[in-house]
């Protein structure tokens, strides 16, 4: 669950400036060694998941554990996609379907929350209107509301309107924790674009709207990327909402629907031997896209994230 605190973009430039000054200093060797040891410890669980996804079953259930696979296999991946998931008796939706549900849910949450919060952030960053202060405080307070505590009332509400156990219901539920954060963060990015630039565009004959599209929008694009990642991750990683609101009794394209995290959770079932190879292969497929994406935008991610927190 990652709703984040009050943030903005003001600190990025300052941080970048200081970094360039700092570069001149040489690093210390003991600190470097300590850092590498810590990095190795922190990475180990991921490394272990990665290699175990490629171990044949016999090597997985083997003592002592192999820290480097004796044999490599792709059978686990094949099984993850072909064998039906959890439950010894109840037929479960396939991993592919659940992956598809996760993707759809996360993308719609991102699209919806970005559109809505972009407008709101423009309002609070660019206009001085009655109720602006109240709205900012309300957003800050809304961010402090623990997402988990909304589960019971949201569940009952969705049940009342007849949406419970559907994909749209889950999407609506995820927007709740995302929106306060995205509005707040985007506000910081919009505020960091000088009004002068916009006015210059207006003087040059741009309409208000085209000034926005041509001037503000490109400048706040990094902010849009950073905030949409958080919206995406929240929807992608969540389990308890997905399990309660969608469960595995929803439907998509006539088949049963559940999200990938619910599917994965079900793989560990005390009433049978856990198919670890299959589990890690599926986990890897579930995790890898986000990991790669995170690594590509790593620099921007840290900046977008830490921007306002640093100055809070």
């Amino acid at each position: 669950m990652t709703t984040l605190g009050p943030m903005g973009a003001e600190g990025v430039a300052a941080a970048a400036r200081v970094t360039s000054v700092r570069r001149r200093r040489r690093g210390s060797v003991p600190a470097t060694v300590a850092l590498l040891v810590i990095a190795a410890i922190w990475l180990f669980p991921i490394y272990y998941m990665l290699i175990d996804a490629f171990k044949p079953n016999n090597d997985l259930l083997h003592y002592p554990p192999q820290l480097w696979p004796a044999q490599w296999t792709l059978a686990n991946f094949q099984e993850a996609f072909t064998v039906n998931g959890a439950g010894p008796t109840v037929p479960q939706p396939s991993f592919l379907t659940s992956l598809f549900v996760s993707v759809v849910v996360a993308l719609v949450v991102v699209a919806f929350s970005m559109a809505v919060s972009l407008f709101a952030s423009l309002a609070v960053a660019r206009f001085n209107f009655r109720g602006r202060g109240t709205m900012l405080v309300a957003l800050l307070v809304a961010q402090m509301v623990p997402f988990a505590s909304l589960l019971i009332p949201i569940f009952i509400e969705l049940n009342k309107v007849g949406l419970i156990f559907t994909v749209p219901a889950l999407i609506i539920a995820y927007v709740a924790p995302v929106l306060p954060f995205t509005i707040w963060t985007l506000r910081g990015f919009v505020a960091s674009v000088p009004v002068d630039i916009e006015e210059a565009a207006l003087t040059d004959g741009c309409s208000r709207l085209s000034a926005f599209w041509r001037v503000i929008f490109p400048l706040i694009a990094p902010g849009l990327v950073a905030t949409s990642i958080f919206a995406f991750i929240l929807a992608w990683n969540d389990y308890v909402y997905a399990y309660t609101i969608l469960g595995n009794s929803g439907t998509i394209f006539g088949g049963q629907a559940e999200t990938a995290s619910v599917w994965l959770f079900g793989l560990i079932n005390p009433s049978r031997v856990t198919p670890w190879g299959e589990l890690f292969a599926a986990s890897l497929i579930f995790t890898l896209p986000v990991m790669i994406f995170f690594l590509i935008i790593q620099r921007r991610l840290a900046a977008g994230l830490t921007a306002g927190a640093v100055k809070a």
């Binding site: 669950m1 990652t2 009050p6 690093g27 210390s28 600190a31 470097t32 850092l35 810590i38 922190w42 669980p45 175990d52 997985l60 003592y63 002592p64 554990p65 809505v116 407008f119 709101a120 309002a123 609070v124 660019r126 001085n128 900012l136 405080v137 307070v141 809304a142 402090m144 623990p146 997402f147 988990a148 505590s149 909304l150 589960l151 019971i152 009332p153 009952i156 509400e157 709740a176 929106l179 910081g188 505020a191 009004v195 006015e199 208000r208 991750i233 308890v240 995290s261 560990i268 005390p270 670890w276 990991m291 995170f294 790593q298 991610l301 840290a302 900046a303 830490t306 927190a309 100055k311």
Partner: protein
Amino acid sequence: MTPSGGEPPTPAGPGGVAPATSRAQRRLVGRWVPYALSSPSLLVLAAIVGFPLVFCLVISFQHFQGYQLVTGGPTIWVGFRNYQALFTGQFVPVLVRTLLFVIGTVGMTLIIGLGMAMLMRRAHTWARVVLTVVLVTVWAVPQITAAQIFVWIFDPVYGVANWLLSALHLGSYASLSTNQWFNYPISVLALAGTVVVWGAVPFVAITLFAGLLQIPDELYEAARVDGASWVSQLRTITVPLLLPILLLLSVLSIIWDFNVYNQVAVLQNVGGISDQTTIFGVWAYDVGFVGNNYGAGAAVTMLGVLLLCIVTGAAVRMMVRGART
């Protein structure tokens, strides 16, 4: 502490300064524009954050169970009876467990995060990049997957943890493999805490590192010239200047760790013990959904929100004051 060189970063309010309505703005757009821009999000927030919160408070005073949900039957006002039942029931043990869990996880997360950030500042650039890549990778791992990896690492028979412990002669494999980690409340919660800390450190470390970058090197150099020890540098420079960020991170971490559900749920599912490992986030779910008693579950939730308000109240007030300006 009087820094002898450079200016300490001045913490600005997160809300920033209210924008002055410019002339161009007044000329080109109507007064209704900001309202039109913000109304969609306000409506959505009211519907899915505001209303549910109020609704939660309301049903916490009602007898509201599964059958009423199905039949749409009337709910009955019961005053404080839900709360009374909680106080005579699990409240105290769950509260103690949750407090210990939160203190442990938040404390470890902040200490490790700060330690990493300080090392990152001192290490070679390439090592810093390595750690950043690792942290970002860890960050991308979903909580369910993280918990499942740890379940496998602590597997009694085939797990790496038991193998390592016996290889280091910290225990005999024979006894380690029969005494399962998932059979004791303390080790289950400690493991859940480990998974939580593992996943929470990246955000904290990266944020604190960005904060450290804003502290001028000259401060540390001056302190070193004055013969200040590592500890007194930490006490007089690092912590005071990072205080606003540390405060924010503490509040966020407390809120997140207080409501931990996923990691504990995975471990409970493996070990089959639940009563003695239930913490607040799990309790609300169990009472509400497993017990089919939404009124009582809502009461647990409201107690949790109240507790969080008390614990984080002062810090949140400071941030809100910043936002108002």
